[in-house]
């Protein structure tokens, strides 16, 4: 029996109490009615949830508009041909899905807020009805009306008032219970319908036809047991913001990768890689590695999001994280005074956030090479991630001159702090080595140097006097001057002209031993 039907039963009894002889029954029925629970729930909490849905829905609609703009205006303007058309359609589909998600969320938000209003109204109606019933009960006297017809009513008018109060009170409670029940059921039905609708929309945009943000956001990682979306909502938002900030060319390149994805899951990992802050060229290389497995969902899951909690997949011991307690790993790898180790917990956090990093751990960026994704290879790479293998190899060889390496072939291969070391890989910012052979080269490089340091990216610079060489870092620029840090313990400002004409000697001492000539720099590639 529901609260509503219980109260309706009481109402029927109360409404039929015409005569004073019914006073005892009236009193007992009032007690029964007061024993029915009031409508339960917190209108404030429900309303707040509805508000959150409305807000998210509005964001989705904005995203949809932006995507639509890309599909209708930006993409066709900059890119023509069949492939462009396909891409436009794909982005339109994405926009449609975001629109659907936005609409669904807005509808759900409105429904919840209406439900909150109704529940509040019902609770107030119920409360005032109860007050009336209490009042009626008190008029029936201390014996509850049992002897009412003989001694309890000094004024028969009291009974009449008690009956009126009881009728008004029970009516108010019945109305409240009906509102709560009907409105609650209607809200639940609407939410179920909206969920079904969203699922149906998803089912229509299957597989190859790329990338709908909604689909992506709800792709489940096959390796986890019923949980763990590939992309969290926060990552989707992050990726969306990063896409907005890209150059048109980068946007097009990324959208092409999405459009070519073999499955929504592959695309979801691309979005996740973007959300993790990888540049488009890095994501391109990443996708080239995973694309052959783009529709092999088990492979993607095993190599990009292995279930780290159990270390198994399909019952087979697979990539297994070792002990993640603080302190794990560094006893083994302590390197004298300088600690180049990273806590296992930090490596785990990064691997979970960044599929590019995870792929490197699970396959060494060599998917398809037999044994590359073996458990032992994985563990070996994981250990390398705990420390840097940067310099360790050379140190093990007893070679003290790791950087810079004076090998008589200055500028030919270049020993780089960033480009060839794990540091560049670790930061995720690819660097490339640029040989400088005179003023012309310096001139050509200058604007890139300024651009890099203006955006906060250091530019390593190698200088020489023909015999010795030394590495410093350009760290700042200021309208015609460059600030160069010398690791010997100071920094200096030099003019652009001094850089261009290889008059950098004062940075490294005095003539004739100083090293005035820049022979190489390292520049960020993106």
């Amino acid at each position: 029996m529901s609260a509503l039907s219980d109260l309706q039963g009481c109402q029927s009894t109360i409404d039929s109490a015409w005569s004073i002889v019914a006073a005892p029954l009236l009193a007992a029925t009032i007690d029964s009615a007061l024993g029915v629970p009031a409508p339960d729930g917190s209108p404030a909490a429900i309303s707040a949830q509805g508000g959150a849905y409305l807000k998210t829905g509005a964001t989705c609609r904005q995203v949809a508009e932006r995507l639509n703009d890309v599909a209708k205006n930006k993409l066709p303007a900059a890119w023509r041909g069949d492939v462009a058309e396909t891409a436009s359609q794909a982005i339109s589909a994405l926009s449609d899905d975001a629109t659907t998600a936005g609409n669904v969320l807005v509808e759900a938000g409105k429904a919840l807020q209406a439900w909150a209003d109704n529940l509040g109204t019902a609770q107030r109606g119920d409360s005032s009805g109860r007050d009336m019933l209490h009042s009626a009960k008190s008029r029936l006297g201390p014996l509850g009306g049992f002897l009412s017809s003989f001694i309890e009513f000094s004024d028969p008018g009291d009974f009449v008032i008690a009956v009126e109060e009881a009728r008004t009170g029970i009516a108010s409670m019945v109305t409240a219970a009906a509102l709560a029940q009907n409105s609650g059921q209607a809200t639940a039905s609407l939410l179920t319908y909206l969920a079904d609708q969203a699922r149906a929309e998803r089912a229509e945009s299957n597989g190859m036809d790329p990338l709908d943000a909604v689909v992506l956001a709800s792709q489940q990682n096959a390796a986890s047991d019923g949980g763990g979306d590939i992309l969290t909502a926060a990552e989707l938002t992050r990726a969306s913001e990063l896409m907005t900030g890209m150059s048109v060319a980068q946007q097009q390149e990324f959208e092409r990768l999405l459009a070519d994805a073999k499955s929504p899951e592959e695309a979801a990992y691309l979005m996740k890689a973007l959300a993790a802050g990888n540049s488009v060229p890095v994501i391109e290389r990443f996708d080239a590695l995973i694309h052959p497995y783009g529709n092999d969902l088990a492979w993607l899951s095993q190599h990009l999001a292995p279930d780290l909690a159990s270390g198994t997949y399909d019952g087979v011991d697979f990539f297994h994280w070792p002990n993640l307690q603080p302190g794990y790993g560094y006893d083994t790898y302590s390197q004298g005074g300088i600690n180049d180790c990273v806590a296992a917990s930090t490596v785990t956090a990064l691997a979970n956030l960044d599929p590019v990093f995870m792929l490197k751990l699970t396959t060494g960026d060599q998917p398809g090479v037999p044994g590359a994704d073996s458990l032992s290879s994985f563990e070996s790479r994981l250990h390398q991630a705990f420390i840097s293998n940067y310099q360790t190899g050379q140190r093990a060889d007893g070679d003290p001159g790791v950087y810079p390496k004076v090998d008589g072939g200055l500028g030919s291969t270049g020993e780089n702090v960033l480009a060839n070391s794990d540091l560049g890989t670790a930061t995720g910012t690819p660097y490339h080595y640029v040989s400088l052979n005179g003023t012309g080269d310096n001139q050509a490089a200058l604007s890139q140097v300024e651009q890099a340091v203006d955006s906060g990216q250091p530019v390593p610079i190698d200088v020489t006097n023909g015999n010795d060489s030394h590495q410093m870092v350009i760290i700042g620029s200021n309208g015609g001057n460059l600030e160069i840090y010398n690791p010997w313990g100071y920094s200096m400002w030099v003019s652009n002209q001094q850089f261009l004409s290889n008059q950098l000697g004062a940075l490294t001492g005095k003539a004739p031993s100083w090293m005035p000539t820049a022979f190489a720099i390292e520049l960020p590639s993106s």
Binding site: I338, I387, Q471, T508, K510
Partner: protein, 146 residues
């Protein structure tokens, strides 16, 4: 050894600022200011404060690689995500140092743009650590790193 710029040819005179002048620089405050304002404060954050931070890190035995990895965690998961790491840099003192930087960044930022600026700053610090180490370990630097 800090070169005397006037000892060179006059037109090559350059402003020299030894690292010792940066001792005691309030790195956390420079991070906060630099993230908030993309002007001189930003440049100070990426030059003076980054050098000071690298020297502080080096004094605590921190190498370039873990700082670079921390930069990458910040870029991938934001400053907020990095603050959840139990040991952003291994060891009690390094963790305190890293958290002081992260908290300064969080106080000033909270946006994704702020996360990216701070991540690049950590990369700058890592690069300075690397180049300082290479200068020390190389045959050239051994007798000059006074």
């Amino acid at each position: 050894m800090v070169p005397d710029p006037l000892g060179g040819i006059a037109e090559h005179a350059m402003m020299v600022r030894p690292d010792s002048e940066l001792a005691g620089l309030d790195v956390a405050a420079a991070i906060s200011r630099g993230i908030t304002a993309a002007d001189v404060s930003r440049r100070v954050m990426f030059t003076d404060a980054a050098i000071a931070a690298a020297i502080e890190a080096e004094a605590r035995g921190i190498g370039p690689y873990p700082v670079a990895i921390l930069a990458r965690v910040v870029r991938a998961g934001g400053v907020v995500g990095a603050l959840r790491l139990p040991e952003p840099l291994i060891g009690a003192e390094p963790t305190i140092l890293a958290r002081s930087w992260l908290e300064a960044a969080l106080a000033a930022g909270g946006t994704m743009e702020a996360d990216l600026v701070f991540s690049r700053w950590l990369e700058m610090v890592a690069t300075l650590l690397a180049v300082r180490r290479s200068a020390r370990s190389g045959p050239e630097g051994a007798d000059r790193d006074a």
